[in-house]
């Protein structure tokens, strides 16, 4: 079986720094080949997320850097208190890599839907949250996350990259992945799997004369405040797009920042609102929930129409 790039990355990290350990709660889908190559630096604890996190904390307090893996829903929820208490309180360098987050759980059903993971993880003091858009983004970011010396949650996305990312990765810095006009009408703020969908939606909107910029935030904690505030101040509409519950994710983060910095603009959240999604094949799930490029584009067009109307009303009253 061919080694996937993520395996190569882990192998390189352990080779470069023997303090790095790779743990998994029997989640080997993304590491079929490397366990024997990692030797003692690899431990599979079995289907035991809590034990894995406790062990990781024990290893980290002794000076190691531990990259743990499990399905995102079980990692962030079953083991939440272990992450918060054993890793979070002492702020140990343990990386929690959550597999099949958001829509990527496709046919599994609500038990496996990690769509509150960002919300949960970002409440833990000093916990970083990294949500790569695709495999290339993941590979660019992981060495920085591992070297950060702090706890981090990684919302794993290993999808093929359709775009070229800025190779200069920096924790807390997002990137503009689509912009054709200096001045834009709409800014789409997004992360993870939705980045590529957002770019395709932007292309559709541009065809009907709406200029759009798409921002891939990469890390949601810390988040690129400058990029967010700039989007708020220079667009008629800001859209937050995420395969996550509306509560606690990017939409919440943006609202918190807008209040804190006393800036306002129309914001349209596209998120999972108070319900789990209907399971199925990934492309059909995305379509069915209204997160395909086409639907995103039409939701944005409508939101933009409503925005201009309400602006008009305001100005008449004013």
């Amino acid at each position: 079986m061919t080694m996937i790039p993520y395996e190569r990355l882990l192998l390189d990290e352990v080779t470069a720094d023997p303090r790095v350990m790779v743990l998994t709660a029997e989640n080997r889908g993304h590491m079929r080949n490397i366990p024997p190559m990692l030797g003692d630096n690899f431990i599979d604890v079995g289907i035991a997320e809590q034990t894995m996190i406790g062990m990781a904390a024990g290893l980290a307090v002794r000076g190691r850097i531990v990259v743990t893996h499990a399905l995102a829903s079980f990692l962030t929820m079953r083991a939440f208190e272990f992450i918060r208490t054993d890793v979070g309180i002492p702020s140990l360098p343990v990386i929690m890599v959550g597999m099949v987050p958001g829509f990527l759980s496709d046919g599994n059903g609500p038990t496996h839907q990690a769509i509150e993971d960002v919300s949960l993880m970002r409440t833990i003091p000093n916990m970083g949250v990294f949500c790569p858009a695709d495999e290339q983004d993941l590979l660019l970011g992981m060495p920085h996350i591992i070297a950060s010396g702090r706890p981090f949650y990684v919302r794993y996305t290993g999808q093929q990259s359709e775009i070229k990312h800025d190779p200069a990765f920096k924790i807390g810095k997002g990137e503009i992945v689509y912009q054709t006009h200096t001045v834009t009408d709409v800014a789409i703020l997004t992360y993870g799997l939705m980045v590529h969908e957002a770019i395709r939606a932007a292309e559709e909107l541009e065809r009907i004369g709406i200029s759009v910029k798409v921002i891939n935030l990469k890390t949601l904690s810390p988040i690129d405040v400058t990029l967010l505030l700039d989007a708020v101040l220079s667009n008629a509409l800001v859209v937050t797009l995420e395969d996550h519950f509306k509560i606690g994710g990017l939409y919440s983060i943006l609202c918190e920042l807008m209040v804190k910095h006393r800036v306002m603009c129309p914001v349209h959240p596209i998120a999972l609102d108070n319900k789990w999604f209907r399971p199925g094949r990934l492309t059909e799930v995305i379509e069915n929930e209204g997160f395909s490029a086409r639907t995103i584009a039409s939701r944005i067009r409508m939101a933009l129409d409503n925005t201009s109307r309400s602006h008009h009303v305001t100005s008449v009253i004013g």
Binding site: G46, G58, D86
Partner: protein, 283 residues
């Protein structure tokens, strides 16, 4: 082994525990049950002193049932990890001596308070020691009530699978959990059989008898077949102070200072203290 010296240290540790059982109080009963155990381990088993507290190959002791930390504070103070007078700072917000252990106290290896955590943390620390080639031991003190937690048994399976023979769990079998006897709520017996079935080497000891503790721990060696060891230490909640011992309502105690004086007299063999303070529930 100087039994008289151990006994007099244990007596002073119990005095410390009782002195922390006022002005806010502490978990007196659970602390008294493991006091002798901790005194013994720090004097004769664990290779750790105030001078080696940061040495990488030191032995590690973890209190997974963190609410018995007054016993650990007392032992660490008696051994000079910090000054005995610091115990007067118990529950002062500008120090770190509160109801559960934390690493701001010299000698405390990991924080606890939430039950069911430190067996897995201990596995991680024992794995690290083994990878570094140290012959150090990781000892995890578990409460018997704590065995209700599923994460303990999850960690037991993993420790056994990973052949962690440098790991020793000690169950402070004081027969009580917060509000009642363990066997009245979630019966644990036969505990030894349960650990044995999970692939552990099981030993039993009288947790208040220094000769028996010495018999067991002086002869302890890592199992050649890789099994981790569990020691079931038979103890008594509130041991040494009859008016607290084996009382379901003396889990968390916050006595008046005159009650504390009377309890210390009782500890020294005088008549039982007359206690008027009601059972107090932790907020």
């Amino acid at each position: 082994m100087n039994t008289t010296e151990l006994q007099s240290t244990a007596l002073r540790v119990r005095e410390h525990i009782l002195r922390m059982s006022t002005k806010g109080g502490c978990f007196t009963g659970a602390s008294l049950s493991c006091a002798d155990l901790l005194v013994y381990l720090y004097h004769h088993f664990l290779r750790i002193t105030p001078d080696t507290v940061s040495q990488p190959d030191r032995d590690i002791l973890l209190l997974s049932k963190g609410h018995d930390v007054p016993a650990l504070y007392g032992v660490l103070a008696e051994l000079g990890f910090f000054n005995v007078s610091r115990l007067d700072n118990h529950l002062e917000v500008d120090d770190h001596l509160y109801w559960h252990p934390n690493r701001n106290i010299a000698g405390v290896e990991f924080h606890s308070g939430s039950l069911g955590h430190l067996l897995s943390v201990g596995i991680g620390m024992a794995v690290d020691a083994r990878m570094r080639g140290y012959d150090s031991r990781t000892v995890v003190i578990l409460g018997d009530g704590e065995l209700n937690e599923g994460s303990i048994w999850e960690a037991c399976l993993t420790a056994s699978a990973l052949r962690m023979n440098n790991l020793i769990a000690i169950v402070d079998r004081n027969h009580f959990q917060a509000n009642m006897r363990t066997e009245e709520l979630i019966p644990l017996e036969p505990i030894a059989d349960k650990f044995s079935a999970f692939g552990w080497n099981v030993a039993s000891v009288n947790g208040h008898d220094f000769a028996d503790l010495h018999r067991l721990f002086s002869a302890w060696e890592p199992c050649r077949d890789g099994r981790p060891t569990v020691v079931i230490a038979d103890t008594q909640r509130g041991h040494g102070v009859p008016s607290i011992a084996e009382r379901a309502d003396r889990w968390f105690c916050n006595f008046t200072s005159s009650e504390v004086d009377a309890l210390i007299d009782e500890l020294h063999g005088h008549s039982e203290a007359r206690l008027v303070s009601e059972t107090l529930h932790v907020r």
